[in-house]
């Protein structure tokens, strides 16, 4: 399906109608609150594989949708589990 994004409310629409939003992931291993704060603010997993992310349908329903995408190919994938 690639960069046509399926909106559960509006249907599939071009990526140009959407705004990408990241869902930050801070590793549990970072216990120090200050280090967690810095990691959440700046660091990125930059996943080379399946990423969970949010897209805002700006030109349609104006709501966030959560999707899973393979960052190597830009293909949409089913939520794991």
């Amino acid at each position: 399906m690639s960069l046509r994004i399926r909106c559960p409310h509006c249907g599939p629409r071009s990526v140009e109608e959407w705004v990408h939003g990241e869902i930050p992931v801070v590793p549990d291993a970072i216990a120090d609150p200050d280090a967690r704060d810095v990691d959440r603010g700046y660091m990125h997993t930059n996943e080379h594989g399946v990423v969970r992310e949010a897209w805002f349908h700006l030109s349609g329903c104006r709501r966030w949708v959560t999707l899973w995408r393979d960052s190597r190919t830009d293909e949409w994938v089913e939520p794991p589990g």
């Binding site: 810095v38 700046y42 660091m43 990125h44 997993t45 930059n46 080379h48 960052s71 190597r72 830009d74």
Partner: protein
């Protein structure tokens, strides 16, 4: 006519040995520049450059070759201005033509907000030696008569800024000249060799794993484009990097005539004519992080539309080839260079859309850091720990159109 100047350059490849003083991961412009400067400036030649594909085949081979220093903050202007000056010297130093062509960069603003941003950037440029002059619309018409100053009526041009030292160079030749220069002094370069792991010992990185075996290293430098976070993960280092696609395209060749590099911040596009006569167009990054290098029609169409709005003479030119590179973007639009908190593991990353112009200076300062153990002044502001120290380098001048 085919100029075939590469006939001068000779490349000699090596199978990796078991141990090196320095192993550089990534045989692009930055990796090879580090190797070149280690060899030429510090006489460190027990160096291996590992490249998973062919040299210069990553972002160095996919960028749009603009060399400029007109950035938005003093630390960046200083760094890129030094790099720009080094670029000019590299041709003489290596004895290899890089088709370095100083053609000037014309940057246009079409709104009061655009003008304010352009004036601010020009001011900091002038303060740190990157010559910039303002151009009124009639002066723009003299520098580049092809510009439609009204941009189809929709975007009247209010102000231009001309950065005289703006230049282009042929990216392949930069890579090959640096590789040849390093190889001639004994540096090993191994293409087709991917790093699949790092070797740790007592909290230190002491080597790399490849399909062909383990290679010990006094220092491992990540000069990877696109996969920097993957490699850093192996070292246990978190990076402030997201990888985004950046697309560009060229038209067919035409006789050389179009001189300046023309850019518009408000419209989000830039164009130059290459030494071979192709018109080369670029724009901003794709918004979603991705390692995909698949080109999109959206970008091609929207960039074409913006280009012919500013330069209507391009309407009937034909698109030859479209491609996509991977940009490692940092949150503050500035690179990340140097120490990582893990001994034996250095990074140069976060080169976003501005890595090509930084190749000479980036290699030079990293080589100095490796050789001396001291962080050079030009490099210091770009340290990874700046985020935790709340000393980010917000450089709006580097974002978007480059």
């Amino acid at each position: 006519m085919n100029e075939h100047p590469e006939a001068e350059i000779t490349l000699r490849w090596n199978e990796p040995e078991v141990s090196y003083d320095v192993v550089i991961v990534g045989g692009g412009g930055h990796g090879l520049s580090i190797a070149y400067h280690l060899a030429t400036r510090h006489d460190i030649t027990n160096v291996l450059v590992l490249e998973s594909g062919y040299i210069g085949g990553g972002n160095t081979g996919r960028n749009t070759t603009v060399i400029r220093a007109n950035y938005g903050i003093p630390e960046a202007v200083r760094f890129y201005q030094h790099s720009l000056e080094r670029y000019r010297a590299l041709e003489d130093e290596t004895g290899r033509a890089m088709m370095h062509d100083r053609k000037g960069l014309l940057w246009m603003a079409h709104s009061e907000a655009g003008v304010r941003q352009e004036r601010a950037r020009s001011a900091v440029n002038q303060a740190f030696g990157a010559e910039t002059v303002y151009l009124e619309p009639d002066e723009i018409a003299e520098v580049c008569p092809e510009v439609d100053l009204t941009c189809g009526g929709g975007f009247p041009t209010v102000l231009g800024a001309s950065f005289h030292q703006g230049a282009t160079a042929r990216h392949d030749r930069v890579v090959w000249a640096l590789a040849e220069g390093a190889m001639r002094r004994g540096v090993h370069v191994a293409p087709g060799t991917a790093v699949i792991g790092l070797v740790h010992d007592a909290g230190r990185v002491v080597g790399v794993e490849t399909a062909g075996g383990r290679i010990a290293a006094g220092t491992v430098v990540s000069a990877v484009g696109g996969n920097a976070t993957v490699l850093a993960d192996m070292a246990g280092v978190r990076l402030p990097i997201r990888t985004h696609p950046l697309q560009a395209f060229v038209t067919n060749r035409h006789q050389r005539r179009f001189d300046p590099i023309v850019a518009s911040g408000d419209l989000g596009f830039y164009v130059s004519q290459t030494a071979r006569g192709q018109m080369l167009l670029g724009a901003e990054i794709d918004r979603q992080p991705s390692y995909s290098r698949r080109s999109t029609h959206d970008l091609l169409a929207s960039l074409s539309h913006r280009a012919i709005t500013v330069l209507p003479f391009m309407r009937e030119l034909r698109v030859l080839r479209q491609w996509t590179g991977s940009c490692d973007m940092s949150p503050d639009y500035s690179p990340v260079m140097g120490d990582t908190g893990v001994d034996g593991f250095l990074v140069t990353t976060g080169w976003g859309t501005w890595g090509f112009k930084a190749i000479p200076a980036g290699g030079e300062v990293m080589a100095e850091r490796i050789a001396t153990g001291v962080v050079p002044e030009l490099m210091a502001p770009f340290a990874l720990d700046r985020f935790g120290r709340d000393r980010t380098l917000a450089d709006r001048g580097s974002s978007g159109t480059h």
